[in-house]
């Protein structure tokens, strides 16, 4: 994806795997100097508070590393749970699907 990274999150993530993912992502951003990260969560149908926090952490992480982040494919049940849990996603834009997400990401990266 050139200067963009694509992260796909699936349901069967447990603690260790999530931490590994966070480390991997940070390392990848550094190595490739990625300017944008697209996180696809369309496979996630339900979330618990753990996954919710994980999404929030990963989003925050890439933003801090100066990569614009766009989250795509959030399902209604996931959105409701995140709202109930009070988890906002600071500095993260969201889009309905990958196409719109990519367009948004390009715009944001171009701005900086």
């Amino acid at each position: 994806m050139g200067e963009f990274l694509l992260v796909t999150i699936q349901v069967d993530m447990h603690d260790q795997l999530a931490l590994t993912l966070q480390d991997d992502l940070a390392e990848r951003i550094r190595k490739t100097s990625a300017r944008g990260v697209l996180i696809d969560i369309s496979a996630l149908e339900i979330v618990d508070s753990f996954i919710g926090r994980m999404i929030s952490t990963i989003s925050g992480l890439s933003t801090i590393m100066d990569a614009r982040t766009v989250l795509v494919g959030m399902q209604p049940a996931v959105a409701i749970t995140l709202v109930e849990l009070g988890l906002t996603l600071p500095g993260v834009a969201t889009a309905l699907n990958v196409e719109r997400g990519m367009a948004l990401l390009r715009d944001r990266v171009r701005e900086t």
Partner: protein, 285 residues
């Protein structure tokens, strides 16, 4: 112990026709027969059936206990009667009157039958009175229950009716809300709106609250949650139909709308949505 003495039962069964006629007159004078919803034939059939059940049950049943199994037939007859009266739109007075107007004819009959035995007369009068009172109460209870069932069903229907999500344009959904917003309704509404956003890929949702009478902090909280969820998913929300009173309430309560755009009516909201989508509306050449 049987509810009524043998002499009473005989007096009733022997004079059944006369009793039914006098009962019928009583119902007529109270206006029960003038109503076109119940035919005269049907009414006289109901009176006859009930009197026979009454007699059958009181031969064996216990005086004070209309709840016992001897009275089961009579009770379910009255349940059916109340229910049909309630569904036809009669009030509880009319329905209970069916039972209570039987008292006078029965009392008069007993006075004739026990002319020679005043002590027994008063005993039997009390027994009949107690029985009819209990049956009357049962009838009213059954009537009330039917009314409550109707109300509950209507409430459910109202809930379903008033949360439709409509498509205004490609990429623009509208949710006209009618009535008071409570937690349950907002939940249902939120879920169906979010689902439609995903299904249609619509980027803009317009929530119209013209039909919402009041907005308090609780309602505002529900709305904000819905809008936050919409934004999390990557779409945006416009609230329309903000009436002057509601605007004042929002200001007085110091509610923070967190940058949600509000419009006075649906037309303005649609215009804004189209603008955001880079669409213009023009006259045909």
């Amino acid at each position: 112990m049987a509810a009524l003495q043998q002499r009473t039962i005989e007096a009733i069964t022997t004079n059944e026709a006369a009793l039914l006629a006098r009962w019928g007159e009583g119902l007529e004078s109270s206006g029960a027969t003038r109503d076109a919803r119940i035919g005269a034939d049907e009414l006289s059939r109901q009176t006859r059936d009930f009197l026979r059940m009454f007699v059958a049950a009181s031969t064996t049943g216990d005086a004070g206990s209309v709840a016992g199994k001897d009275w089961a037939d009579a009770r379910s007859f009255l349940d059916g009667l109340s229910r049909s009266r309630a569904l036809q739109g009669f009030d509880s007075q009319h329905t209970a009157n069916f039972i209570f107007s039987l008292k006078r004819p029965l009392f008069e009959e007993l006075q004739r039958a026990y002319a020679d035995a005043p002590a027994q007369l008063s005993d039997q009068l009390v027994a009949i009175s107690d029985l009819l009172d209990a049956l009357g109460m049962h009838t009213v209870r059954a009537f009330q229950k039917t009314r409550e069932d109707i109300i509950n069903r209507q409430q459910e229907e109202l809930l379903e009716l008033s949360t439709p999500v409509v498509k205004l344009w490609d990429g623009v959904l509208a949710l006209p809300m009618i009535g008071t917003l409570d937690s349950q309704r907002t939940q249902v509404v939120m879920e169906s709106l979010l689902q439609r956003i995903v299904e249609t890929g619509s980027e803009i949702a317009i929530i119209d609250i013209t039909g919402v009478p009041t907005v308090d902090t609780l309602v505002a909280q529900h709305l904000l949650k819905t809008v936050t969820a919409i934004r999390l998913m990557g779409a945006d929300c416009i609230i329309s139909g903000v009436r002057p009173q509601i605007a004042q309430t929002i200001v007085h309560l110091g509610l923070d709308l967190q940058g949600i755009v509000t419009k006075a009516n649906l037309a303005d909201a649609l215009a804004l949505a189209l603008k955001r989508l880079n669409l213009t509306v023009g006259k045909a050449a």
